[in-house]
Amino acid sequence: MMIGDRNMRYIVIGNSVAGLSACETIRNNDKSADITVIADEPFFAYSRPLLSDYITGHVKIEDDRFHYRRDSFYDDLRIEKKFGKRARQIVAKSKKVLLDNSEAVEYDKCLIATGGVPFVPPNLKNSSVEGVHFFTNLTYALELEKALKKAKKIVVVGAGLIGAKLAEKLSLYGFDVSIVELTNKILGLALDGPSSSLVAAQMSKAGVNVITEDSVNEILGTTKCEGVVLASGKKIECDLTIMAIGVKPNTSVAKESGIAVNRGIAVSETMQTSVKDIYAAGDVVELHDTVFQMNHPIPVIPWAAVCGRIAGENMSGIYKSFNGGFPVNSISIGDISFVSMGYVETPDDCRQYINDKRIDEGIYRKVIVKDGIIKGAIFMGDIERAGMISAMIKDNTDVSAFAERIVENDFWWHSLDRTLREKLTRRA
């Protein structure tokens, strides 16, 4: 697309899933466009879930599998890289992105895909001593890798997806690891009681000291971390504390630019922000959650990729809308893989179907249904058919006729009626 006698200029702030998915879509629609990606980290886009495998040496920075796209990606798509530079502010009036080195880059359409930043508990005492770490990006992982060379005992704060996986890997790698979780179950947003207990058992089997219903109030040590004090008064000696309480949207650029931010950047169904020609996608935005019936950040790769593409389409002139998402999780801890989506605890107005006959083997399944529509599911140990459920949530499929069959171990196409099976075959 041309504007007068020059190419359209697209600026993407953020070099990960949402940003690069938008770049792919833009390039597909606009062969002549000037596309620039600005990112504060100086690296090729990488796969964040692999950071804990990087720490244990199972994946190296130069490995293809660590990269979000193959090596020729930026050249193939003719993307100008401005890496190692932080976008400070977007000036909508003059259509410029200001970088922290006082450079100004002009745009016609801009995408904010700045992801998330680790959440720091506001009343944690003495958190600025050496040995307190985060683990949400490669820069943090490199710092942690260095610190681990001199460490033996580690406390991980927060048993969410990042903390739980990291704690398990570090323990298997030979460190003495404790994990402290505020609520009464680990992976509480992704699992219900019985499934969380199964994962906790795997963590213990890996040697992790799992502490629930407690939190870290204070880091001990004058210059270096020597331990933590828990709310219960208990003390744990440690050389490193890794904060993994959660992530929050990295909204600083948006806020500096006068863009509306609620729990994340507010976006329309086309992923446009409150300011014309500025779009946002990925972990930095709040999405409409069709299960929880509210707008909030859903920081997972599938929606980041979907929304990045939708933003890219609309930025390059093709109307596409996002009709909402819901939480989805896939993770393996120890020998157990699980997938969960939507509600994991059953609200009063919903009905639940549970199959825990083989829970001793690490196999467990639960489906939550409201008025015939699935609102949540946990597939543990036996996950191959889980995607059929995420599709049914997305499509509002009426499952009244076969709801109880979903939790059967052999649930598949035979569990559906013929009409639905034929619809499935046709949809492709």
Partner: protein
């Protein structure tokens, strides 16, 4: 592009499609060699049975494939035929593709080392017609243009 069409009324649950599939995905494509392998290839189609219903089910190669979008490291791509393919060299077995696949047709292969591999139908890139279709004795699988 062409797709394998599933005709459930013609399926006689003989499972020859599964056999043909794993032979085709073995190094020598010889049935005896494949049978002797220590770790046999997984069949990418699977016969789903609840009589009188039975059908061989495999990837539908979606035009807008949710597995591909969900992949954390670009290991799923479309080849020049439009087939949805897993790069088994880079797949890390995070199973996000499984989480988003509407058909439940991606399998976990965890027999090859640290990283698991998502295993699915690749429409037999080295053949004119996929092995499952050729092996079906009763016309329950048809290879035809996507319509």
């Amino acid at each position: 592009m062409k797709l394998v069409y599933i005709k459930e009324d013609a399926c006689v649950e003989c499972k020859l499609c599964e056999l043909a599939c794993y032979v085709e995905h073995s190094p020598t494509k010889d049935i005896l060699d494949a049978y002797e392998m220590e770790i046999r290839p997984m069949p990418r189609c699977e016969v789903d049975v609840e009589l009188p219903y039975s059908a061989s089910i495999m990837c539908r190669h979606c035009i807008d494939a949710p597995c591909l979008t969900a992949c954390q490291n670009g290991s799923i791509y479309k080849d020049e035929r439009g087939a949805v393919i897993v790069n088994e060299k880079t797949c890390v077995g995070c199973w996000m593709c499984i989480m988003m696949c509407s058909y439940g047709v991606i399998k976990r292969d965890t027999r090859h080392g640290y990283f698991g591999i998502s295993t699915k139908c690749d429409l037999c890139p080295e053949r004119e017609t996929p092995a499952c279709v050729d092996s079906c004795p009763n016309g329950a699988l048809l290879y035809d243009d996507r319509g």
